[in-house]
């Protein structure tokens, strides 16, 4: 099962390495990892996407908790939540293709954010599934480059991960 784990971490040097090291050391998967400081500069927030059965996920959350710099964490997948990922795709776009790519981008509510005589760079925001669907939809187009941020997540409603 895919899980999205959000972690509040002391914003100290070495703390992130500890989280990443834990996953490598204990053989856990990381599908994606995003991290940045929060509104409180002493805290950073990570969103980790991982996979495993219930027992593995339980170990992951417990082992993360044990890290001294982990302040709080939540498995967002336990409750209603929102996840977003941003992707930029650079595609070959000349002649007829230009119109076709633009149509496709519109359907996905993607934006063309950079243009050259032979290329488009498109930005898409959504769930990881949506980003994958967009790549699928571009199957007749030559993709030059893809960059994805990885998932950020937050719970719906009043539930929040804060101090």
């Amino acid at each position: 099962m895919r899980h999205i784990i959000a972690v509040l971490l002391e914003n100290e040097s070495g703390a992130l390495a500890r989280v990443v090291g834990l996953f490598a050391q204990r053989g856990y998967n990381i599908d994606s990892l995003t991290v940045a400081a929060t509104e409180d500069p002493t805290l950073s927030r990570l969103t980790l996407v991982t996979r495993g059965d219930d027992q593995v996920i339980e170990q992951i959350t417990k082992q993360l908790h044990k890290l001294i710099e982990v302040v709080k964490l939540v498995d967002l997948s336990d409750n209603a939540h929102i996840e977003r990922e941003l992707m930029m795709v650079k595609v070959k776009a000349s002649g007829d293709q230009r119109e076709e790519v633009k149509r496709c981008a519109d359907i996905f509510r993607a934006q063309i954010i950079d243009v050259s005589p032979t290329t488009y760079t498109i930005q898409v925001v959504g769930t990881s599934d949506k980003l994958e669907a967009f790549i699928q939809a571009l199957c007749n187009t030559q993709i030059l480059e893809v960059v994805r941020t990885g998932v950020s997540g937050i719970s719906r409603g009043e539930r929040s991960l804060a101090l």
Partner: protein
């Protein structure tokens, strides 16, 4: 502000040493080098914190570790950057695996050189990360007192463990002084280790134990670390529980007590492994269902309801699912159980199932007859088990016994019947050969009047034999029992059992003359080659109170450790001798 209240101005190095003193540290074990010279100079200029100069940094870590195991307080190590720090790695990992509190201070190259592959630079933060409870690098000398406090707090609280403090040389420059103030205590918003255990869960656990027909108490190193053996013993007696201890937990319950059924696991007693396998309730206290205990997890104790007390939630349901988990320090949890039990006194719910328990004890006593720790006596050859029994007699069962790793370690665990906690000191989790001698030194230094025995093998002792020199310098009169079988015996045993006795590199060829070696270092050496020589040799060795005596005892080279669990089997599937299995 009056003159008196003005904080003293100290250099980073002096603050470090003062902070150690304020933390109650008496000894630091270490080895000097470029990156820690300022600190060594600060040590030289005071008399409160004493430094013990080892001959290899690994030994410093094991000394500190063993001191912690015996006393419960964190041991302190001081090493230089680069090779000094990397030499300490095995000892840090050893302490980590057994949850031993330790503070390791590593020098580092000057801050501005970090990352340049400077002379004797290694990324000790990176190297130690997977084998420490925490590590920290000093960025500002003024923070040294706070960081020392934090290091001790983290190392000693909750599930203890080693903490590495990485100190770049420019943090300790003698001419740069800062106001010194040692914090009384410290709080971290991200770390709150003092769980008392959920009362509801504790109640449920007690009810389950009271209703049990075939219960067993399985306790581990957590009870030793948590200083809870009195509570454990009382509870076991009041609930009439058979008690088994892990390798790390020996001594938590008196081995001479009739309710004690021996160690469990790979080389556990026949009865302990049978009791576990057939139990209806397993009460696990400060133990972690390690693979050397459970054997194949799929076949583990099929009928048992499992109650598990541990301070580390990650240890609960990691390998074996717990039905009644209790996260908390073992001592307060056991105290709460005892007080709940008091309240049930005289009430129907407080009654044990006496009939079922009598049947259970009957069964256990029958199992005791099956193997019972028997071993073959030989007229011409000394048996290792007999040596350990003799050492037990000569020390009245009251010695601190450290060991190395191998067959001798298992014989010591099985045959030195530990009646007190903190007396059995061995590397259980990492299985570090070379641990025994420095460990004995760490204990002897702090308990000079106690009998300290190192049970070792001719393989293991050579991994830190240079420490005989340190023993001479500090007058450490430990007794070394070298169970010399001329083999890497444990390796040989596996090769006998699984590789048709093809002894691939398990023979210790060209052994030194240990007696002469001991003498060369200024100690007493005694060789024992026949059974008759043993008693007088032990007599003489233990009479030489303040001397280090190296007893090189030649034993049966062919002996195996039994019982031994059948690999991949259930807990109760065991080899009982070279020719019998369950």
């Amino acid at each position: 502000m009056s003159q008196q209240n003005q904080p003293e101005m100290l250099s980073g190095g002096a603050m470090l040493v003062r902070a150690l003193h304020d933390e109650g540290v008496e000894y630091v074990y270490g080895y000097p080098g470029g990156a820690v010279l300022h600190i060594y100079d600060a040590l030289f200029q005071q008399n409160d914190v004493k430094h013990v100069l080892v001959r290899h940094e690994q030994a410093a870590t094991h000394m500190a570790d063993a001191y912690a195991r015996a006393s419960g307080k964190a041991g302190v190590v001081l090493v230089t950057s680069g090779p000094g720090a990397t030499n300490a790695v095995t000892g840090i990992a050893t302490a980590y695996m057994d949850s031993i509190p330790m503070v390791v201070i590593c020098g580092q190259v000057m801050s501005h050189l970090i990352g340049d592959d400077a002379f004797q630079e290694t990324d000790m933060m990176g190297i130690s990360r997977p084998i420490v409870k925490h590590n920290m690098s000093v960025r500002n000398p003024a923070e040294i007192p706070m960081m020392v406090k934090k290091a001790f707090y983290i190392a000693q609280s909750g599930r203890p463990g080693p903490v590495v403090l990485d100190i770049p040389k420019d943090m300790t420059i003698p001419s740069q002084k800062f106001p010194y103030d040692y914090p009384k205590d410290i709080k971290l918003r991200s770390y709150n280790p003092n769980a008392k255990g959920h009362p509801g869960q504790i109640k449920k656990a007690l009810q389950t134990l009271l209703a049990a027909k075939k219960p067993v108490l399985y306790s581990g190193g957590g009870v030793i670390l948590g200083r809870a053996s009195d509570e454990l013993t009382e509870l076991a007696r009041r609930l009439n529980l058979p008690v088994t201890n892990t390798l790390m937990g020996l001594g938590a319950y008196p081995a001479s007590d009739p309710q004690f059924i021996g160690m469990l696991g790979m080389h556990g007693s026949f009865e302990a492994n049978q009791v576990m396998h057939n139990a209806d309730v397993i009460f696990a206290v400060g133990a972690r269902f390690d693979d050397r205990v459970t054997n194949a997890t799929k076949k583990f104790c099929p009928n048992a309801t499992i109650i598990h007390i541990d301070i580390d939630p990650a240890s609960i349901s990691k390998t074996i699912n717990a039905h009644i988990p209790i996260v908390g320090l073992v001592k307060p949890v056991l105290q709460e159980m005892l007080s709940q039990l008091d309240k049930l006194q005289g009430k129907a719910e407080g009654k044990l199932d006496q009939v079922a328990l009598a049947n259970w004890w009957n069964q256990i006593n029958q199992w005791r007859e099956v193997h019972g720790g028997r071993y073959q006596q030989r007229a011409e050859l000394l048996m290792p088990q007999a040596v350990i029994e003799a050492v037990h007699r000569h020390t009245k069962g009251d010695a601190y016994v450290t060991s190395d790793v191998g067959q001798h370690q298992m014989f010591a665990a099985q045959y030195y019947k530990f009646d007190k906690p903190n007396r059995w000191i061995n590397s259980g989790g990492l299985g570090t050969m070379g641990f025994g001698l420095p460990a004995a030194m760490g204990v002897k230094l702090h308990y000079p009047d106690a009998e300290v025995v190192c049970v070792t093998g001719e393989g293991s002792i050579q991994m830190n034999i240079q420490e005989l020199s340190t023993c001479k310098q500090y007058g450490l009169g430990v007794k070394i029992i070298n169970l010399n079988n001329g083999y890497l015996g444990m390796v040989k045993q596996w090769q006998d059992m699984n590789y048709d006795s093809r002894y691939s590199s398990s023979y210790m060829d060209s052994l030194p003359d240990f007696v002469k070696l001991a003498e060369a270092y200024g100690h007493v050496g005694i060789r024992v080659t026949t059974p008759e020589e043993l008693e007088p040799a032990l007599e003489r060795a233990f009479a030489l109170k303040d001397r280090l005596v190296f007893l090189d005892i030649h034993i049966d080279p062919k002996e195996h450790v039994y019982p031994m669990q059948v690999p991949g089997g259930a807990m109760n599937e065991m080899f009982l001798s070279k020719t019998e299995r369950t």
